[in-house]
Symmetry: C2
Subunit: 323 residues, 2 copies
């Protein structure tokens, strides 16, 4: 079956470049920052792509904008929906509003008030459900049925992956030369998949690595065993990285990733604190995982140029892990 | 008596431009950031000069670098000294090291360990003293006598003021047009004095305003009564802004400032939290005072272009005011 929009194909180089152009007015060009102190500490030349400064506070806005834009080309007047209590919910609500679309967001009734408020501020229409995956999916199905809204998955969707690919694409434009490595946080695999595609089409030798909390290392296990291992009751402070890989992201990652590395909870908190203290910027725990994993594997990165994607900056300032 | 370096004269336009050129390799060019959410919240077009990203975490490094550079021109081989437990201590230690000078820092024996460590990391030689102003001054005098080091005052020194002037000078180069207002935090008056001089020489109509905690409003009182009122036992979270004006900064400010405005402790914490949450950057309480004061005086700034200097980002992440 052929679906009526290009989101059903793996994005290639021209598709990535095209969505970057299309979204230029919508998506923020985020800065690439460096930090002498962290360079010294790691013996590495680090380049940080700051998606914590992205609209809605995370790279998720790139994927949501890409999906909403593609949808608007083929189904003008469509609405979108998703279930999420995280960054994707906010990103989709905002992207939809900027395209004059309606966004229906299914959220668990115990979602933090700050996240509920953020989705509402961006004009999202919230339907609450019980806090189980089953209830989420049932409620989403009901919302889809009643509204005709199109489901935009947080990562298992080529339209979304295509948007996430623009993050590293933009970073390459900003750097003078391609880095030896680029490391991204790894949860469902949307950002890593997009980064892999960009590296494939626009670099000659950059090695792409995913970084996971060791307490949610399902992708690492999958990579080691070369078979799909789902995430099982992960407990980690990096709450954006708990999900399993998807049917689209799993094969992309298995085939193209250079490696998957992990970080302990202690390292994640330490790396996050270093970034706040030394770089004076706010990143969320998930965003600190690549730096934490690099610090646990210093030898392989010594004297290399390493790009790191700071995936987001949405934290509850009243609940910081070092208090 | 004429002292042997230009730091004894009020810096003029060419002097400011010259030190900006001289320090280019040393001082970081910090970005000017904007934030749509804060613009909407205030009805103002805000431009934030991010000295929290400056070396040693605050604008103080500009003044210290300027002073150390000027000294190195006239007394090669000299050492510098100061008494401070704040940003000036770290800034002077680092600036001296980068000029291959020795820096002697007098600190109270109850100074926070994190600040002691920072000064030591930058190569500063610390002499501890009892935590009274009297002990500080006596100890500094002893250090000066024993080492021959030149005292660099944190703000009451034209060499320092000249360096602080480069902050707004650099900001003007980065903006397309001059702002209607520029607001700086106001403690001893070094940053405000430098900003006033830059505005005088390089803008046609920018109004310069100092912002003080209402709990440390000695400069506001001085401005209202047109006579020098010293700071008396101020209690404020903005610990960088507790000091009195100096003999050099007082007349500069009285003569040139457009106004002095104040902010309550609650507003300072609120403004600081907004910046962390919305802009995803770390600023210290003192740096939040201009935005807090603007929010308490919204009418006069509506629809205006307002520059704000985020003076620094050195905070103890374990002691945040909203916990």
């Amino acid at each position: 079956m052929e679906l009526p929009f290009p989101g059903t194909k793996i994005p290639d180089g021209p598709a990535i470049r095209h969505i970057q152009e299309q979204n230029r007015a919508m998506v923020k060009e985020t800065p690439v920052l460096t930090c002498q102190t962290l360079n010294k500490l790691t013996g590495t030349e680090l380049f940080f792509k700051c998606e914590n400064f992205q609209k809605a506070g995370a790279f998720k806005f790139r994927g949501a904008s890409s999906a909403v834009w593609e949808l608007s080309q083929h189904q003008p007047g469509a609405a979108v929906c998703t279930h999420s209590s995280g960054n994707h919910a906010q990103a989709l609500a905002l992207a939809a509003r900027l395209h004059n679309m309606k966004a229906h967001i299914v959220m668990p009734e115990n979602a933090p008030q700050v996240k509920v408020d953020a989705v509402r501020d961006y004009g999202g229409v919230i339907t609450f459900c019980e806090p189980t995956l089953q209830a989420r999916e049932a409620t989403l199905e009901k919302v889809q049925h009643e509204t005709g809204a199109v489901f935009i998955h947080p990562y298992n969707d080529y339209r979304v992956i295509r948007g996430q690919a623009t993050c590293f694409y933009e970073m390459l434009q900003q750097l003078n030369e391609e880095p030896d490595y680029i490391i991204t946080p790894l949860g469902g695999g949307g950002l890593l998949s997009g980064t892999l595609l960009t590296a494939k089409y626009f670099t000659s030798a950059t090695k792409v690595i995913g970084a996971e909390p060791i307490m949610a290392n399902d992708a690492w296990q999958s990579f080691q065993q070369n078979k799909f291992i789902p995430s099982q009751n992960p407990v980690t402070i990096a709450d954006g990285l708990k999900t399993s890989l998807g049917t689209l992201t799993y094969p992309l990652i298995m085939e193209n990733a250079h490696d998957i590395i992990t970080a302990s909870e202690v390292s994640i908190v330490q790396a996050m604190k270093w970034v706040w203290e030394r770089m004076k910027i706010v990143i969320e725990p998930s965003a600190a995982v690549p730096l934490a994993a690099l610090m646990e594997n210093p030898d392989r990165f010594v004297s290399k140029k390493v790009g790191i994607i700071f995936s987001g900056g949405n934290v509850d300032l009243k609940k910081l892990p070092w208090i």
